[in-house]
């Protein structure tokens, strides 16, 4: 698979606050990567660094096999948290500026405005738009020129339920067209519905990274411990239906693959000669899983 973005050790501080700390991840073609975390976890800062509006203190990133200059952004459609346009210019002229900046033709303006349902306002100055409309114009601006990569920062923030559904529909359409998408969100539900992969951030640090189905699906979560913890861990690794989430002192948190029950797990371990001392079952909701991940101790790697 083609690498779209490779991030290595990205770090950025504001004064004494570490906004992003030693962050690494990769995005491949066709992936929808969610940056998930509570407010202030470093999602927007990460996107700012990747879009080069802010400079990192250390670390590197490369777009499209090695590009790191500002021209990389021309092939990325971006929706930033708050829409920024010239208030005195109408929608068409604002989008013309975007098209010129991206080095794209002007013939895509009509299509993108249609896509977000703003064709009727094409001649209205930006300042006359409601917040929801501004957000939709920002989405149109991101989709202008049909870029292969989209960066969306809290795309449904501040929208009414109808608007949220519409915007999600557009994002899913884009995903199904094979676009690569990086999306920041504090809504677990949103990431779960839209993303294939997820980086979970807490205080600027990556606390989890992987496939959404593995990390956030409603799988059975179990904490187990045994006298010989090393051997338990080794054994668990051999079973493809079990994924190890984290080590918690003398116990291991795992998620069970579909169909695998705790009884079967226990039986299988006994067969392997491992006697478990405790087995704790958390059939937690997605929300509480996420909260647990965010609240729990940081885990690198």
């Amino acid at each position: 698979m083609k690498t779209i973005l490779k991030v290595e050790g990205l770090t950025k501080s504001f004064g004494t606050i570490k906004a992003v700390s030693n962050l690494s991840f990769s995005v491949f073609e066709g992936q929808v990567l969610g940056l998930l975390g509570p407010n202030g976890s470093g999602k927007t800062t990460t996107l700012n660094l990747l879009l080069q509006t802010k400079y990192p203190d250390s670390g590197t990133f490369h777009w499209f096999d090695g590009q790191s200059g500002p021209s990389a952004n021309r092939n990325i459609g971006t929706l930033i948290e708050v829409p920024h346009f010239f208030p005195y210019l109408n929608l068409e002229k604002n989008l013309k500026i975007v098209a010129h900046a991206r080095g794209k033709g002007l013939n895509d303006i009509q299509r993108t405005l249609e896509l977000v349902g703003l064709t009727g306002r094409i001649k209205s100055p930006f300042y006359t738009l409601s917040f929801g409309m501004k957000q939709r114009l920002a989405l149109a601006s991101a989709l202008l020129g049909n870029p292969d990569v989209l960066i969306l920062d809290e795309p449904t923030n501040g929208l009414d339920p109808e608007g949220i559904a519409e915007v999600r529909e557009i994002i899913i359409q884009q995903r199904d067209l094979g676009k690569t998408i990086i999306m920041a969100s504090h809504l677990l539900d949103e990431v779960e519905k839209v993303c294939t992969d997820v980086v979970i951030l807490k205080n600027g640090e990556r606390i989890a990274y992987g496939k959404v189905d593995e990390l956030l699906s409603g799988k059975t979560l179990v904490t187990i411990s045994a006298e010989n913890i090393a051997e338990l861990q080794k054994c668990l690794k051999t079973n493809s239906r079990i994924s190890i989430l984290e080590m918690e002192g003398n116990s291991i948190r795992i998620s069970l693959g579909e169909g695998l029950t705790t009884t079967e797990l226990n039986k299988w371990l006994v067969e392997k000669g491992i006697i478990i001392s405790t087995l704790e079952l958390h059939k937690a909701s997605l929300e509480s899983q996420f909260l647990e991940l965010v609240k729990g101790p940081s885990q690198h790697g």
């Binding site: 509006t53 500002p70 952004n73 021309r74 930033i80 920024h84 010239f86 005195y88 010129h100």
Partner: protein
């Protein structure tokens, strides 16, 4: 590096922003009206002072000195316009938006420099058109040499306008908000620099930006021109930075210094924009 394609791209972006900006139109009209008004009034005043009339300052070749001097009064309007155009980008956060859409910080600044050059060209064209019209009306024996003589004041006006807008650019890249930027910019011309002038050695005064820029277009010698058409002959071997003296030679030296100042202000602004986290 800026390629031709990129220059066109930036020019298109800047033209959308400027032509559709009501304040831009308003200040350009204000600038033109004030200049034309002052020129019309002054060229129609009849002062008779012991048989000496000032009408000669509106004849070739003196008219270029006179009109560029009038135009120089309104350079501050162009400076304020430059401040508005740049502070908008900070206020609307559109500098940030355009970086996101793929413009480099260099290209952002280049776009603003283009607008500043355009303003200087506009000032020159306005003065040229007015000068040709009034000059032909007021000069009795027209000849080509009369037309071209003294026209070097036009490129000097170009540099002067650019110098005013470059200083404005520097103020607004540092301060960012329109109100405080305009206020400090105006306060710099009066009273900040005049106060500095009062405390520094006299021979350094001519090098201060505001003083140097205003020396580019010296006040026409209203009475002297009337007494003798050969004003340049009266001047020889004096300090080129002395405000009262102007010859073509002395003016070319301070024009080059003003150009260097402009470049310096633009380069400092570029440095600030390049390092800035948006």
């Amino acid at each position: 590096m800026l390629k031709l394609n990129n220059i066109k791209r930036i020019a298109r972006i800047e033209s959308i922003k400027t032509w559709n900006y009501p304040v831009f139109k308003a200040l350009i009209i204000l600038y033109s009206l004030l200049f034309l008004l002052i020129t019309l009034i002054a060229s129609n005043i009849q002062i008779n002072l012991q048989g000496v009339t000032i009408s000669k300052v509106f004849q070739f070749p003196h008219i270029w000195n006179t009109l560029t001097w009038f135009a120089s009064w309104f350079n501050l309007i162009l400076g304020i316009l430059a401040i508005m155009m740049v502070s908008n980008e900070f206020q609307f956060r559109t500098f940030r938006k355009q970086i996101i859409d793929g413009l480099s910080r260099n290209e952002l600044l280049f776009g603003k420099a283009m607008v500043m050059l355009l303003l200087a060209v506009f000032a020159v064209l306005l003065v040229f058109a007015t000068g040709v019209t009034i000059g032909i009306m007021k000069t009795n024996n027209l000849s080509w040499s009369y037309l071209t003589n003294g026209i070097y004041f036009l490129p000097i006006l170009f540099v002067q306008s650019l110098a005013y807008t470059s200083l404005a650019l520097l103020f607004v890249t540092i301060i960012r908000t329109p109100g405080p930027s305009i206020m400090l910019y105006l306060l710099y011309f009066f009273p900040i620099e005049p106060i500095i002038r009062a405390v520094i050695p006299e021979r350094a005064i001519g090098y201060l930006p505001a003083k140097l820029f205003s020396n580019l277009t010296p006040m026409p010698d209203f009475v002297g021109i009337s007494l003798s058409d050969m004003v340049e002959l009266k001047i020889s071997g004096t300090d080129v930075f002395s405000p009262k003296i102007h010859t073509f030679q002395s003016l070319s030296v301070i024009t080059i210094v003003a150009l260097c100042y402009s470049l310096l202000f633009i380069l400092i602004s570029r440095h600030i924009i390049k390092r800035k986290n948006f």
